[in-house]
Amino acid sequence: MTPTRGTVTMSDEPAIRLTDLTRHFGERTALRKVSGEVPAGATLAVLGRNGAGKSTLLRILATLLRPHDGEVALLGEPLPRRAWAVRGRIGLLAHDPLLYRDLTARENLRYHAGLHRVDESRIDEVLAAVQMEKRADEPVRSYSRGMVQRTAIARAVLHRPHVLLLDEPRSNLDPGAEALVEPLIGRASGATRVLTSHDPQAALAEADLVLALKDGRAAFFGEPRALSTAALKDLYA
């Protein structure tokens, strides 16, 4: 199965491969034997109720959590054994914006540019892309939630990642801002994307593949059109 959509070309080589991925938190199993493959350039929408394991999956793919069983390969590299080889090629947009509140947007981005060895000219580029140039020298704590999210998006794409892990990427964004960030985190970014959303219909609309999680198990993995309305309803029941 090689999904194609829009102008993005997807290769057959999977960018993400999950084989019986399992992760526990103490007694609780957050993910249980989750499997699936995502081709390079494709978009995987991860759906499920709160606590279904969506954020855990994203954090494992981001190399921030270790799988307890099963196998995970990202960009051909097995995790966590070769996590170092993929760090720097992942852009994570999580609930936490990963920004220091007492620093300005520009200072935050300069810090991240330093960590990722990105040329500082890229900072102005991403600030302009999210239309934050005018407020870039004010501390992040003075921003509205939407501005924080735009800055976090600039931070996530600063180093031109190959894989974008997007946890509710459009939260706090107004329609204008959503359109603004589309080239950065949308399909046009060209990156392999894994996204979660509080709006399943919106997520399905931009997905090539869907992983539906229920109590940590994969209730469905496949193309969006194969996911029935009843199954979707059952997922959130």
């Binding site: 921030l64 990963l98 920004l99 220091y100 007492d102 620093l103 990722h116």
Partner: protein, 223 residues
Amino acid sequence: MRTALVILRKDLRLELRSLETVPAMVMFSVIVFVMFHFGLNTITVKGQEAAGIFTATLLIAALLGINRLFVAEREQGGFDAFLLAPVDRTALFVAKATALYLYLTLLEVIAVPAFKLFLLGPSLGGSLPGVIAVLALANLGIVAIGTLVSAIAIQTRARDLIGPLIGLPLQIPSLIGTARALGPLFAGHPASAPPGKWVAVLALYDVVFALLAYAVFDFLLED
């Protein structure tokens, strides 16, 4: 080294903006000296007694900085941001340890004159180079163990308790070495030098704990 500088620059900027750590450490030290001044019901102290009071105050003041060392990383996602970057993880240890060393040096620049003002009887004139050398050495040990303890404590809910409960016992060799080395310097003998034996103990403590902290720090960042 470049990554450590990037992190250090960010940490110093954050401290300059928030002024949460160094002013608290300085205020604490000065308040403790004033309390000893009145609590001991004496105008001045000297020798080993003075060295003990000064060193214990310094170590407890350092705990304030140690407890806050990783707070911004924990509360504002700094750990995740760092772990996502393709960098050597020990750079974080080096940066945090250097920041703490600078905080301690700033603390001492104010605490030594304050100690002289409120408690210390003899003049420090000729002993000052020795005091500076002992404190520079003592700071290395405090920083090595402090950075390690702070990285452990920040992972726990009871981080404000873990810091003192683990950190202070581990700092006892440093307390002994620093206090014994400072004792003769606070005794009022003109141009006295710190005793070599205790300087050597301090140096050994520094080397052992710096190597230990460097070796295990990586694992503390693991999930």
